[in-house]
């Protein structure tokens, strides 16, 4: 059988179609220097014991995660049926205010706004190494997948907003350890 152009073209076409997949490639390239978070110890229990003049005792199985630049730190917080997202944001003492921020959190789980006096009534006061904080457990009964535990901790010249988002079950499971974490927050001398 001689060389057949039609068969060869068909074979070539099929070969190209079946062999194209750039995901199989190993790539190598150079980029300008980037800052990786590696100055901190990579072992979770030692990671980020302090940052920007604030320290805390990090529970062993909390793992630092990607947040965004507005966050001081972010952690993945495992519980029995999933993983919660914890964020720590530091703002100037004037930013937003307690009512605005709590109502923003409430809106995130489809709860309506409440007044400042109601907010203070619904919160629990806890004690950290650098002063007292207000703890909020925000649960919407019609949305079991998303609930919030939050703490507001005023410090000198700034306020820390610590928020843990997880399912309702996760929030219930994690409340004690979350409170312990908030209680461990201190200023670094």
């Amino acid at each position: 059988m001689g060389f057949n152009k039609e068969y060869f073209a068909l074979f070539l076409f099929a070969f190209i179609i079946c062999s194209c997949d750039e995901n199989k490639h190993v790539k190598s390239y150079r980029l300008p220097k980037t800052s990786f978070n590696i100055s901190k110890n990579e072992v979770p229990k030692d990671i980020q014991k302090s940052i920007n003049g604030i320290s805390w005792d990090l529970p062993q199985n909390w793992v630092p995660s990607d947040g965004h630049s507005m966050r001081l730190a972010s952690f993945d917080v495992p519980f029995s049926r999933g993983i919660g997202d914890l964020s720590i944001v530091s703002l100037g003492s004037e930013s937003g205010g307690l009512t605005a921020n709590v109502n923003r959190w409430r809106k995130q789980i489809d709860l309506g706004p409440i007044s400042e006096s109601e907010i203070k009534t619904e919160s629990i006061v806890g004690q950290s190494k650098s002063g007292s904080f207000r703890l909020f457990r925000l649960i919407n009964d019609s949305s079991k997948e998303k609930a919030i535990l939050a703490a507001v901790l005023p410090m000198e010249g700034k306020t820390l907003y610590i928020k843990l988002t997880a399912s309702q079950q996760g929030i219930i499971e994690l409340e004690t350890i979350f409170t312990q974490f908030c209680s461990s927050i201190d200023k670094v001398q």
């Binding site: 057949n4 039609e6 068909l10 076409f13 099929a14 179609i17 194209c20 997949d21 750039e22 995901n23 199989k24 490639h25 190993v26 790539k27 190598s28 390239y29 150079r30 980029l31 300008p32 220097k33 980037t34 990786f36 978070n37 590696i38 901190k40 990579e42 072992v43 979770p44 229990k45 990671i47 980020q48 062993q60 199985n61 793992v63 630092p64 995660s65 990607d66 947040g67 965004h68 630049s69 507005m70 972010s74 993945d76 495992p78 999933g82 993983i83 944001v89 703002l91 930013s95 937003g96 921020n101 809106k107 907003y161």
Partner: protein, 370 residues
């Protein structure tokens, strides 16, 4: 023999049966989206060559479309088609071939991802929506970092990942499409390194929304003959990556969405959102950006139905992130090599149908006269 093969491949019946099967796939794929999600359904029924229905292997979208393309191409080899009076049919077939070739290019080479830019900052990186990669970054050089990146398809249990840039071997032990952390139970003699010393990774069912899945990988580093040899684990979204220090070289390891680096950058100047009056529902959002190429900025406004098209990339206004101190825009970026094919092939097929009508017109008029 040659004519017989062409006859079998170019049979209109083959095209008709393929079309019917394609309709079945569309129905099954659409219904299954509810249970397994859009991405998984697309992968299973349309982007696969073969899929399993219970124990029975059935042809997936790619094989059906390849068969249809082969059918149309084979049709072009039929001698009796190359006549002036059949020019309309010929052109319609060419249009069909072009449409399917365009679909093939889109399926194989196109990519889609997202670009998140905070107000005042810039980016030239697109993160793929679905595909992941393992990046081993040598950060020992003073002026640059050397990236060695392994694609997701290489993450097969037991597969060795090697590259001349690396003076150690990586063996994939487990890859998980969706994973989570699990507390360690008891002591282990296994030489875990990095975060696996304190916590382990476990696979969990894939979420219907692929964006919520967090791929994880467990792999062994060997051949460095240092304390760095051992078993490592990485999970997507880990901000503190695993590190290795081997023979004076320091490496960072990270599992990340497949990154595409653009030959230009986008800087977000201002993000605006307009709410429906009296509600908290966004009516529209837009991003005023600088498109920076060769250090020359050009101001562009990207709106919900007004994407930016540049160098084969299309940037759509997809979403936004609202923070306490500012906003960030989320642009969906699509690179589609076959973007123009549907338009061109539709025009060609329309011309073909018109030509067919014109060539048939004299005989139709004769019939009417009789």
């Amino acid at each position: 023999m040659k004519q017989e093969i062409i006859k079998a491949l170019s049979s209109p019946k083959l095209f008709a049966y393929s079309l019917v099967w394609l309709m079945v796939l569309v129905v099954v794929g659409t219904v299954s989206q509810r249970d397994i999600g859009l991405f998984a359904s697309q992968q299973r029924y349309f982007s696969s060559y073969i899929f399993l229905f219970g124990p029975i292997p059935l042809p997936g979208g790619r094989i059906v479309l390849t068969l249809m393309l082969t059918n149309l191409i084979s049709m072009l080899f039929k001698q009796n088609l190359w006549k002036m009076k059949k020019i309309g049919i010929l052109v319609v077939h060419l249009g069909g071939v072009m449409l399917l070739v365009g679909a093939g290019l889109t399926a194989i080479f196109s990519s889609e991802g997202s670009m998140v830019i905070e107000e005042g900052s810039r980016s030239n990186t697109i993160d793929d929506f679905h595909n992941t990669e393992l990046a081993i970054i040598n950060i020992s050089e003073q002026n640059y970092d050397i990236y060695t990146v392994f694609g997701q398809h290489l993450f097969v249990r037991g597969n060795n990942l090697r590259h001349e840039n690396l003076n150690f071997d990586i063996t994939v032990l487990e890859y998980m499409d969706n994973s989570t952390f699990e507390p360690i139970s008891g002591q282990s003699d296994i030489q875990y390194r990095g975060m696996l010393k304190n916590i382990s990774l476990k696979e969990i069912p894939i979420d219907k929304d692929d964006m919520k899945n967090r791929p994880g990988i467990i792999f062994q580093v060997s051949g460095s003959f240092t304390d760095s040899d051992g078993i490592y684990g990485l999970i997507f979204g880990q901000s503190v990556p695993a590190t290795l220090s081997i023979n004076g070289k320091q490496y960072v390891m990270s599992i990340q969405k497949k990154k595409t680096y653009l030959p230009f950058a986008i800087e977000l100047l201002d993000f605006k959102k307009v709410m429906h009056p009296g509600t908290q529902v966004a009516k529209s959002f837009s991003s005023r950006i600088n498109l920076i190429e060769d250090n020359v900025p050009r101001s562009v406004l990207i709106e919900m139905n007004k994407p930016l098209r540049h160098k084969g990339y299309t940037f759509f206004q997809a979403s936004f992130i609202e923070g306490l101190d500012g906003e960030a825009t989320v642009l969906a970026a699509v690179h589609n090599y076959g973007r123009l094919f549907p338009y061109i092939s539709s025009i060609i097929m329309s011309i073909g149908l018109l030509l067919h009508l014109l060539t048939k017109l004299p005989s139709l008029m004769k019939k009417n006269k009789k």
